[in-house]
């Protein structure tokens, strides 16, 4: 045991604390405390001061150790940012594939080090632009991809064998990933060298983001197919980005974000183990994606707790032997839901604080939101300021000079311990329900998040939480910002493009390929190779997804509020 504190010191510390409390109370009898109760964004109560007494049982080597050492509280890599900075990965997608391709080239030229693709709603839901349900949505909140040709245009001229690409895609993740692989192979690039991430996390879709296609069980089966395929065929690819981001955006607390995300991770790991895969073969390719909200220390503690918890889960629960399986590597995005349409330039400051928390929490990659993201897709200027925010943190502020600079802070350590404890409690509850799949069927996480979101909104309305420019320091003056508009013509142009692709393809080949996808879905063959064949034959996104829908049925939102 390497207990951080000797027992003897506590008596003296607590004596000192008592006399300090007295002087404090004297001061407060003249000027009372600013608030009746001090609490975080998630409404966790925070004490006046933290001392060694709050982390009495801390054991340096057991609870913290060194970066790159179990339980990884201080970071997954030994060198962290002393070696390489985090990847600056700005999420981008707008209009047509060539519009987004232009934005990608701009971001790479401005120093971005990884690509991240935002798709439009029809693509996210597995529909082509010409689907009746897709009317009015083409290119509005991301790029429209109907066929392999769109994927080729999207990455035209970009060195995909050197740069990693993240794709935020869920129900049709297997299809978009197949298109990416097909696009690379058509360029003569081996799938084995491709690096990147598909989000591919359906459980959090049912819980929070709500883009769904098929019911939870078959969704998990397709995901397990991609994990199996990636492990064997595309070894540098992160097959699932287990995401807390959307859980938080939907209104959860920080602890719920932590607990539900790791519980999702447990469900994916369990499913792959049940498939017969060796945990150390696939777990190193799982990555995570968290939100960085406004409560600075709560977020830093959350990231540190997440690493320590996942390390324990993989090592103790799944008996993973490889340290790489124990690593929780994560991407972070600053909290979209913390931004305000009122006084939008304030959003630059909010984002900077959130980005700083992510960096102090040891993120592997980061997207910083643009000031106008609350209004529309970012303009080039706003996206550049957001990227510059990261560059200033990285290269001017000095925060990346040392690893885990807040390690050892009584407050941050106490908060880290508390969040871990509370999140494990929720995970135990989910285990008792029979795991995340059945918890979702019982609407447990959905209802918990709905309650937390409503509570938060009420606190804002009752002025219990300040939102600058919204419920305090309000100005009547309208602050204009330039907002990007998507051309309404795009829908027609995109439909015509897809029509041209369809009329030039070999329909017999398409039909046969789709039939093989259907057989794989209905049976036990891995779906990935049949899907790659189908998209190479220029089957559209929706044609493949319609096969899924036909075999598995469609999931409908239970409408919990």
């Amino acid at each position: 045991m390497t207990k951080t504190f000797n027992k003897e010191i506590f008596e003296e510390i607590n004596k000192g604390k008592e006399s300090w409390e007295e002087t404090c109370n004297d001061a407060f009898s003249c000027t009372p405390e600013r608030l009746k109760r001090f609490s975080t964004v998630s409404d966790q109560e925070i004490k006046r001061i933290y001392t060694p007494d709050d982390i009495q049982n801390h054991d340096f080597m057991r609870d913290l150790a060194f970066p790159g050492q179990y339980p990884f509280t201080r970071g997954v890599q030994p060198s962290m940012y002393r070696g390489r900075l985090w990847t600056m990965r700005m999420f981008a997608g707008l209009g047509s594939a060539s519009d987004t391709n232009r934005r990608f080239h701009l971001l790479v030229k401005e120093g971005q080090t990884g690509l991240s693709t935002a798709f439009d709603m029809p693509t996210l839901m597995g529909y082509d632009t010409d689907a009746p349900k897709a009317r009015g949505e083409c290119g509005k909140c991301g790029v429209a991809i109907d066929t392999l040709v769109d994927m080729e245009d999207l990455f035209d001229g970009l060195p995909i064998d050197q740069i990693t690409t993240s794709m935020t895609i869920n129900p049709p993740a297997a299809v978009l990933w197949a298109m990416y692989i097909a696009m690379a192979e058509n360029r003569g690039i081996d799938r084995k060298v491709l690096g990147g991430t598909i989000q591919n996390d359906m459980l959090k879709e049912f819980i929070a983001q709500k883009t769904f296609m098929c019911p939870p069980e078959p969704s998990l089966r397709i995901i397990t197919d991609t994990v199996e395929f990636g492990t064997k065929e595309v070894p540098r690819w992160n097959t699932i980005s287990i995401s807390g981001y959307h859980i938080r955006e939907a209104g959860s607390t920080a602890v719920q974000e932590l607990a539900f995300t790791l519980a999702d991770g447990i469900a994916y790991t369990q499913a792959a183990v049940e498939r017969g895969l060796n945990v150390d073969d696939f777990a190193p390719r799982f990555s995570f994606f968290f939100n960085s909200h406004l409560d600075f220390f709560e977020e830093i503690a959350k990231f540190r707790a997440a690493r320590r918890m996942w390390g324990k889960i993989m090592r103790e629960r799944f008996n993973a032997k490889s340290p790489r399986s124990w690593w929780l590597r994560f991407h972070t995005q600053t909290a979209g839901c913390s931004l305000t349409a009122q006084q939008p330039y304030n959003n630059v400051v909010r984002t900077a604080l959130e980005a700083l928390a992510a960096v102090l929490g040891g993120t592997q990659s980061l997207h910083t939101n643009s000031l106008d993201e609350v209004l529309a897709i970012p303009t080039e200027e706003a996206a550049t300021i957001a990227l510059r925010t990261q560059q200033i943190i990285a290269e001017e502020s000095g925060v990346a000079n040392t690893i885990d600079p807040l390690g050892g802070s009584y407050f941050v350590e106490a908060l880290t311990d508390r969040m871990e404890e509370e999140a494990f409690e929720i995970i135990r509850k989910i285990d008792d329900m029979g795991g995340m799949l059945s918890a979702i069927e019982k609407n447990y996480p959905q209802q918990e998040i709905a309650d937390a979101a409503y509570h938060y909104q009420r606190r804002i309305d009752e002025l219990d939480r300040t939102v600058v420019g919204v419920n305090k320091y309000v100005t009547d003056e309208d602050i204009p910002v330039e907002v990007l508009e998507i051309d309404e013509e795009l829908e027609r142009i995109q439909m015509e493009k897809t029509e041209r692709v369809k009329s030039a393809r070999d329909n017999k080949r398409v039909t046969e390929a789709l039939q093989r996808v259907g057989e794989a879905c209905a049976g036990t063959t891995n779906v990935m190779e049949p899907i790659i064949d189908a998209v190479k034959a220029h089957a559209t996104l929706q044609e493949v997804c319609d096969v899924f829908r036909k075999v598995y049925g469609e999931y409908r939102d239970p409408g919990i509020y």
Binding site: R135, E137, T211, V374
Partner: protein, 135 residues
């Protein structure tokens, strides 16, 4: 208000947009305000929404959109209500809606648009004032 029945309101999510945090919070605020609430859940077409609104005999229909397709979806709902002779159902909207679009939507028959930051009590008070049980 004696003798008048409780207001029946429907909260609906047209289109493919999955951002339902606002819609669900509003549905709950309406319930807490004493209205009868029907929440459609996500991914509804304008046709499905209008049919449900008529079937449920609601006094008001609140549409939520945060992914940019409101300029197609909201007018389409209004148009369908008119076709079905149910234009007396008050339609309001909420979400990420630029100012220029708000003006257009209002002149097209949407009674009010609530943008982010509007307190819940302000919205429920507006409903009480502007929506009456349909005959």
């Amino acid at each position: 208000m004696k003798g008048e029945r409780r207001l029946r309101v429907m909260v609906a999510k047209p289109g493919l947009d999955g951002h339902d945090r606002g819609a669900r919070i509003i549905a709950r605020a309406y319930r807490d305000a004493g209205f009868e609430v029907v929440y459609t859940g996500l991914h509804q077409t304008p046709e499905e929404i209008v049919e449900a609104a008529i079937q449920e005999d609601v006094d008001m229909l609140g549409l939520s959109s945060l992914a940019g397709a409101h300029m197609y979806l909201f007018p389409r709902v209004i148009e369908l209500l008119q076709e079905k002779g149910a234009e007396d159902i008050v339609v309001c909207g909420g979400g990420i809606i630029p100012d220029e679009d708000i003006a257009k939507l209002k002149s097209g028959g949407v009674k009010e648009i609530f943008t982010p930051g509007t307190p819940l009590d302000e919205i429920t008070a507006w409903v009480r004032e502007h929506v009456k049980p349909r005959a």
